[in-house]
Amino acid sequence: MQTFLQFILNALSLGSIYALMALGLVIVFGILRLVNFAYGELIMVAGYAWFALQGPGWPWVLLAVGAVIAAGVVSVLTERVAFRPVRSDSLNAMLVTSFAVSTLLQNSALLLVSPRARAVEVPSVLNNSIEFGGLRLGVNDLVTIVVCGAVLLALGALLRRTTLGIALRAAADDFRMLRLLGVRADKVIATAFAISGVLAGVVGVLWITRIGAVTPTVGAAPLLIALIAVVVGGMNGLAGSIVGGYLLGTLTVGLQLFLPQEVLAFRDAFIFAVVIIVLVLRPQGLVKGRYSAERVA
């Protein structure tokens, strides 16, 4: 029983961070049908922003806010500079653009900072753990669960209660209809990228403080995780990506626990095989989204 509860707690913590990752990716995908390969680099940007701000000994809440803002700003910039000009071209042009943006950001970090890992100062309280009833829960896990829950609730409120949020959801269903109703496409898409960037920032802060260091390739793993969660959960709705995130978190913790060591090395291959199988057998994912029109730009 205790092992089981511990398993649930770990899965919940990892799952909520995966859910945020997936959400950031799907909010752009929903509107543009673009898999933003540069999404992982936004997480990297948040990490380097934290690293750059940590010198003067500011309170770490300030560092976190700074990192989140940095990721959001870079996300909006990439939309304005790179994605907007190719939006009306083929889907391939957009995908290759995102690949190029990813390479550009990653190598900029190589060029401007260093190829080597940079250590980030983590508030020491995060490394403590709380024990109750024989269960161990790291403070960072607790923070992750609480922060992710708060962000999910806030995002839900934004999408349901505000005009902009309703426009965003409508854009994911039928973008052309939305434009016919007089909503500016540029504004909606920029907002989607801003939200995506902010989510990447939050994920970045949580992820970097877990690892304790930031490297130019730190975004690769979160990108792959988000991609899997989105495909498995369902690409046509926000709910699907959250389900996919929690599912993948549970699966990862479970495989870590039960798979023998020599098979564990191939874990990623298994998970990506699941991705292909889902794409082939159930392209809409586990959670079927609502009606969704074909891609328009």
Binding site: A93, T97, A100, P115
Partner: protein
């Protein structure tokens, strides 16, 4: 005589590039500068890769990330088959006996490498051909990750993530150039074949293609397998040129270089792919030279790393924004009737733009 004239006329673009590349190869060989020979050899191999990708991507309109994985499969297959038995037992002590005891000459090893890559593509690629555009791109990306994980974890065969040493050096400038010429011809002939025509029909309007009785999935699949074989061949040639390599060589960095070459040149035309390889190689080597000069001169207090990639990526972004169809968008360079049909947009987007 008249007949010959007709052949020349209808293949002018192909003959132009065959001649150009033969000339480049011979001139570089005669120049005797080792650095140039090295650069041109790698360029010839990259040309084969890019043409392999063009055969599938250009004609089907599908974006594929997995082809560098086929290059990796080709490289490891050929390296294992052609390695001397003693070197093999030293480098890979736990290799399966049936692989450990054979040593094939260069040509059969390379051809078998292409065959193995094609087989993998044929088995695992078929379901992918049924997918829609964005799902296919994600699935091909997933397949690249799978191949990478297997290559870097299958220690008995690939030495795991570590470098595999002791591959024999067979590929030189002239071998690479000869294969490049063969593949240029293959790419042109494929484009003109019935199969290529059917594939392009499915790219431009899938519903019309179905209504004409084209089995879109099968046509796509055949092209995918052919292009995988070409990439496997390129991998094999590369393995016997570099002689020691690790699975990391067949992943996102190389994918980026090859995609850049194809997209900058123009994926829809063979001449575009060829021109893209020439242009990107020139820029890439130039930038790398600048980077190296900066680093060795010691004029800067730090090492410059990644400048080449940053500028190349920026160039790609600008290129996509300004000229999304690539340098040669449609109509092969040098062919008598170069038509200028704008790259087709999906119908609803066109309607959108018009409104």
């Amino acid at each position: 005589m008249n007949h010959l004239h007709g052949i020349v006329r209808s293949n002018r673009s192909m003959l132009l590039f065959l001649g150009l590349f033969a000339l480049i190869a011979v001139a570089t060989q005669l120049s005797g500068v080792p650095l140039m020979q090295r650069i041109v050899t790698v360029m010839m191999i990259n040309l084969i890769l890019v043409l392999g990708l063009q055969v599938f991507m250009g004609n089907s309109g599908f974006l594929s990330f997995v082809h560098i994985g086929f290059m990796g499969i080709g490289a490891y297959t050929s390296a294992l088959l052609a390695m001397p038995v003693r070197a093999k037992s030293a480098a890979l002590p736990t290799l399966y006996p049936f692989l450990a005891d054979i040593q094939l000459p260069f040509l059969p090893a390379v051809l078998l490498a292409a065959l193995v890559a094609a087989l993998v593509a044929a088995i695992f690629g078929y379901p992918l051909m049924r997918l829609s555009e964005s799902a296919a791109a994600i699935a091909s990306f997933a397949m690249l990750v799978i191949i990478h994980v297997v290559l870097s974890q299958w220690s008995a065969v690939t030495n795991g993530p570590r470098t595999l040493f002791g591959v024999l050096r067979y590929t030189d400038l002239m071998t690479a150039a000869m294969w490049a010429l063969v593949i240029i011809a293959v790419a042109y002939l494929f484009k003109r074949s019935t199969l290529g025509l059917k594939l392009r029909a499915s790219r431009d309007n899938i519903h019309a293609a179905y209504s004409l009785g084209i089995n879109v999935v099968v046509v796509r699949w055949i092209a995918f397998v052919i292009s995988a074989a070409i990439c496997g061949l390129a991998g094999a040639l590369w393995a016997h040129f570099i002689t020691s390599f690790a699975p990391g060589a067949f992943y996102l960095a190389q994918t980026f270089v090859v995609l850049t070459m194809l997209i900058v040149g123009g994926p829809r035309t063979v001449s575009g792919a060829v021109v893209g390889v020439l242009a990107v190689t020139a820029v890439h080597e130039g930038l790398r030279h600048v980077e190296n000069t900066l680093n060795t001169s010691g004029s800067l207090p730090f090492q410059v790393v990644g400048l080449t990639e940053v500028l190349l990526a920026a160039a790609l972004i600008v290129m996509l924004a300004v000229r999304p169809g690539g340098l040669i968008q449609s109509g092969e360079a040098g062919s008598p009737k170069a038509r200028t049909v704008p790259p087709q947009q999906s119908a609803h987007v066109a309607a959108e733009e018009a409104s």
